[in-house]
């Protein structure tokens, strides 16, 4: 806790979580959680089911307000930055966030426009092809669960300019090839100097990860 406050003015950290607490449905998920992340760092959030991994990611991206504590982006609390902070990050949540009635390409290009990074049709097509979804003009409804995840993850290829990635279970429902590709993207992004935070249940997380264990921070 103290450590986080001392680092307040330290500019080498892009993202700081200070003394976070989260309470959901009357149950305290974690208390006094503090960590800081610099550009080029990879952080894994670990913990069993229901330990608050998703809630922590949602707090970090500003969708959820913590019951105590503050998240700072380059020294400024994120709740006062609002969409200025949202422009710095990509958050891929539990749900694939694709509309069933649109094609993968339409989903991707709309998601990019809303995030303020309009992508050309060619770039969208190339990103989908790399994720093994060739320009099939069929609605996402007809794709399998894994293909939906791929359609959602293809967004990462178009968000390489963003300094913060927050990924909730990026490897869920993917086959080996797609896991390998996603892993490569994450490592590439870290090498580019961005900060990446992710959760996973798979034992073989990325070896380079630092780990925040929510079990230890439980009340």
């Amino acid at each position: 806790m103290q450590r986080a406050y001392r680092k307040k003015g330290d500019n080498s950290h892009v993202l700081q979580a200070a003394d976070l607490a989260c309470e959901r449905g009357g149950r305290t998920l974690f208390l006094g959680l503090s960590f800081a992340l610099s550009g080029g760092e990879l952080l894994r959030i670990a913990g069993p089911n229901g330990s608050g991994k998703t809630s922590l990611l949602r707090i970090l991206c500003g969708l959820l307000s913590p019951s105590a504590g503050v998240v700072r982006w380059k020294g400024t609390p994120v709740h006062s930055l609002k969409e200025e902070y949202a422009r710095q990050l990509v958050y891929l949540g539990h749900a694939p966030a694709v509309k069933d009635d649109l094609t993968a390409a339409e989903n991707l290009s709309i998601a990019c426009s809303l995030a303020g990074l309009p992508a050309s049709e060619a770039a969208v097509r190339a990103a989908l092809e790399r994720y093994g979804l060739p320009g099939k003009d069929q609605p996402v409804r007809k794709l399998s669960q894994g293909q939906r995840r791929r359609a959602a993850l293809a967004r990462l290829l178009l968000c390489e300019a963003l300094p913060l990635w927050l990924l909730d279970e990026p490897f869920a429902a993917l086959d080996a090839a797609a896991v390998e590709l996603t892993r490569g993207l994450i490592l590439g992004q870290v090498a580019r100097g961005a900060a990446v935070i992710y959760t996973t249940h798979q034992a073989d997380g990325l070896k380079e990860s630092r780990v925040v264990n929510l079990d230890a921070a439980a009340a």
Binding site: L63, H94, A95, D100, D101, I110, L114, A115
Partner: protein
Amino acid sequence: MLAAARCIVYRDLLLAMRRRSDVATALLFFVIVASLFPLGVGAEPNLLRSIAPGVIWVAALLSSMLSLGRLFAADYADGTLEQILLGAAPLGVVVAAKALAHWLVSGMPLVLIAPVLALQYDLPGSLYGVLALSLLLGTPVLSLIGAIGAALTLGLRGGGVLLSLLVLPLYVPVLIMGAGSVDMAAAGLAPDGQYLLLAALLVVAAAFAPWAIAAALRISAE
């Protein structure tokens, strides 16, 4: 900022195109409700003429209500709402665009089809324009106010019923002005005052509702 608003309108219209049955349901509901009254109260022309504005307006309120439940619920369920909340543009602009798309899909068709319904109530031709104009000014207010309710009841069990209880009382001023304008024109008076009040409601709703919707969405999505 405008790019994001355009993108949302495009997206919602595209989704409505892909799910045409949803749009048709609300429109058919409007037509059927408005058609039931002449069957129920009998074909007395004077009676029909006098109840027409109120009945058509109430049918418009209910039909606009019908599609509100889906306004944010579908996006909430598949996770796209989170991405909208994390968008690059201010949330108020984005939700205003969503309300606009809702009006284009569920409000504007009512404006276009209302004169046809007026026919079965034997309204004089001079009133068709008044009815359409009052709906044109009033239905966007319904979409804006309704979106506040839809955002507040997002993710609640039995949200649909709660939404009606929350929103229908707020529709009352629009109903009074809207139906009143047609009544005034039928009595041979100029309905300008009612138009201006409807327009004022629209301006106030357009100015303040987006921020209320945005605040409600942020709370509901937590």
